[in-house]
């Protein structure tokens, strides 16, 4: 590895170094503020290192990682989202646990995994990044020292993720058996001209493993249980970083290896997209628990993402990236509000709609912020959500996938109902005694930033679009040359 390689990897190295630093600080003295502060500083340093790494890219760092603008963009997105999660976590943990320090260590390790994932260019780094992410999440989900639901959620996640990993690895082994290489770029060259059954079986098993982590129908069933059982900031992390990183990698894998030329697989993904959009929204329809509503809605949103993904062209990269920017910001804000409003008792996991009854009259700013988030999720114009959905439709229309667009429209229509239902509840006249929760300042900061982001760039999206387009460099154009 040359110095340039280290420079290119410096954002990831920064995060990994911070993880080690936090571990050492715990060894010296346990202090919540120190651990949290170190984490924030480390993440900021990593974000700053992006600027440093940018001139060095694109570069292939050992066979395992391709650091290009695409990777750096997503690393930046992951780091920013993680920063948001940390800001929401501090207040949450301070009230609930007496040993919060390892939380940050695990969060940083998960972030290293996510960053490695988006830069992965080979099966080994693909799978290690994914497993590092999951391994840290198992412990994070079960982090609270009391209560039954966190353990239940973590065990469910561990068992199913283990099985999904087995599927993923078996699929990788089959592809390796067929092609004799683990590197994405080489696969494109040696792929048989006619699709081979072994190849398709391997790809299918990989997609089952990935599909589980992305929570798309029919591999979605764990989502609401884990979202509900996990501590709210961890749920925010699961819903945003772990899905966004994997989706970005999936797109890279598909385009770089020309896997999209396996027609039956693409057809199958189309059906999965339709099923996710419809089932996700239907499941959320009358759901009384807000965390579960968001979980089901995230299933639907992954369906929308798949619609953009299936355009499998230049527009797909742009649309997926834009949608992910929107999705990560919005879900982070949504679970940030859930975090702020979480109870501290034994029923911390559950968050029924009644917690939001008349919220506007108690805490107008929080309610306004949540309204913006929900409207963005519903795709109302003048929020980023509208543009994101619009992008998806344009990408799908480019491929003339009218069936997918139809399902998207139906799904969005159903979605409108349950988003607005929460909004309506927030503006009802309050009844009975009401407690006002004052969000701690880091959480407030993050919420304000996210709300302004969603509305501001909904009205003036030019900078975001420009940034997204800059994430696509000449090396991504190479992916788009028809393979096989």
């Amino acid at each position: 590895m040359s110095p340039a390689d280290f420079t290119a990897l410096s954002p990831i190295l920064c995060v990994a170094g911070t993880a080690v630093g936090v571990m050492l600080s715990i060894a010296v003295r346990r202090h919540h503020g120190v651990a949290c502060g170190l984490t924030v500083l480390g993440l900021l340093a990593a974000l700053a290192a992006l600027r440093w790494a940018l001139p060095e890219v694109p570069v292939q760092v050992t066979p395992l990682f391709t650091v290009d603008r695409y990777a750096l963009f997503y690393i930046g997105l992951i780091l920013a989202t993680t920063l948001g999660v940390v800001l929401f976590s501090h207040g949450y943990l301070a009230q609930r646990t007496d040993r919060p320090e390892e939380y940050y260590l695990l969060l940083l390790l998960a972030t290293v995994g996510a960053c490695a994932l988006v830069a992965a260019s080979q099966f080994a780094s693909f799978f290690l990044g994914l497993e590092l992410l999951s391994m840290a999440l198992f412990a994070l989900i079960a982090y609270p020292e009391s209560g039954r639901v966190p353990v239940e959620a973590a065990l469910k996640y561990l068992i199913l993720a283990g099985a999904a990993s087995a599927f993923l690895l078996f699929g990788m082994a089959l592809i390796y058996a067929q092609l004799g290489t683990l590197a994405f770029a080489a696969m494109r060259a040696v792929a048989p001209s006619a699709g081979s059954p072994l190849m398709d079986l391997g790809l299918s098993m990989v997609l089952i493993g990935v599909g589980f982590k992305l929570a798309i129908v029919p591999f979605h069933m764990w989502t609401p249980d884990v979202y509900q059982g996990a501590p709210a900031p961890v749920t925010a992390y699961v819903a945003t970083v772990s899905k966004g990183a994997l989706f970005a990698l999936l797109l890279r894998y598909f385009l770089q290896t020309a896997a999209g030329s396996a027609i039956p697989v693409v057809t199958g993904l189309g059906w999965i997209a339709v099923a996710s959009m419809l089932a996700g929204n239907w499941l959320a329809l009358l759901q009384p628990d807000v965390k579960r509503v968001l979980a089901y809605s995230s299933i639907a949103h992954l369906g929308y993402l798949l619609v953009a993904f299936l355009a499998l062209g230049a527009l797909a990269i742009e649309a997926v990236t834009f949608y992910l920017v929107f999705y990560l910001a919005t879900m982070l804000a949504a679970f940030g509000i859930v975090t702020v409003l979480s109870g501290t008792g034994a029923d911390a996991g559950k968050q029924g709609l009644e917690a939001y009854h008349g919220l506007f009259w108690r805490q107008p700013w929080l309610a306004a912020s949540f309204t913006v988030v929900l409207l963005a999720l519903a795709g109302i114009p003048l929020t980023l959500g509208f543009l994101a959905k619009f992008y998806v439709i344009v990408a799908a229309a480019d491929r003339a996938s009218w069936g997918l667009i139809g399902a998207l429209v139906v799904g969005s229509a159903i979605g409108l109902y349950y988003y607005l239902r929460i909004v309506v509840v927030m503006y009802r006249e309050p009844v009975g005694a009401q407690t006002v929760v004052v969000p701690p300042w880091p959480a407030r900061l993050a919420l304000i930033a996210l709300t302004v982001f969603l509305v501001g760039f909904g009205i003036y999206p030019r900078p975001v679009i420009g940034l997204v387009q800059a994430a696509i460099g000449p090396e991504q154009a190479v992916w788009l040359v028809p393979g096989r």
Binding site: P63, L106, A124
Partner: protein, 174 residues
């Protein structure tokens, strides 16, 4: 060698079936160790002696011991055994068995269709593996170390209270 391959395959499959179906957890673990040893021999016949050694040392050794240790700690007695028996009625196996059979059939069909590629097994020894592992895969080793660190920290945090004892939530009156 061909005979050994088939023989150890048969042992591995049989031992795994037994491992999955045994009522007593310790019995199951013992059958699993047998299965893992058979798989290690398979590795050897496939020209992977280093992997075979690791299979014995880490899988059959360390990981299984971890299982046994936890089983001992939880002190699963006669009651647990009876419960297992009640759970494992024959009809429990029908659904999963059929499902797995269909999946297996599909996979075997595909595997049989496309992979009649005879090849000469060349032994890839420890030096070759080591050179590759610490050459191009050096960063993978680093990542794997972080995976283990995450596992360690997670297990430490989660196991802490269990070791310290304390009241069991499940026994509290609801």
């Amino acid at each position: 060698m061909v005979v050994i391959f088939y023989l150890s395959s048969a042992v591995a499959v049989a031992a795994t079936i037994l491992a999955v179906t045994r009522v007593g957890v310790v019995h199951a673990l013992l059958y699993l160790i047998a299965s893992l040893l058979a798989v290690a021999i398979l590795f050897f016949t496939l020209g992977a002696p280093f992997a075979a050694a690791l299979e014995v040392i880490i899988y059959a050794g360390a990981i299984m011991v971890l299982f046994v240790f936890v089983v001992m700690m939880l002190n699963l007695g006669e009651r647990a055994l009876a419960q297992e028996k009640a759970w494992l009625r024959p009809r429990v196996w029908i659904g999963p068995g059929l499902l797995a059979l269909v999946l297996l059939g599909e996979s075997l069909y595909v595997i049989g269709q496309g992979a009649h590629t005879p090849y000469r097994v060349a032994v890839t020894g420890p030096e070759a593996v080591g050179a590759t592992l610490y050459g191009p895969y050096a960063l993978a080793v680093e990542l794997a170390s972080l995976v283990l660190l995450a596992g360690l920290v997670g297990a430490f945090h989660l196991g802490r209270h269990a070791l310290h004892g304390g009241p069991r939530d499940g026994e509290r009156p609801q």
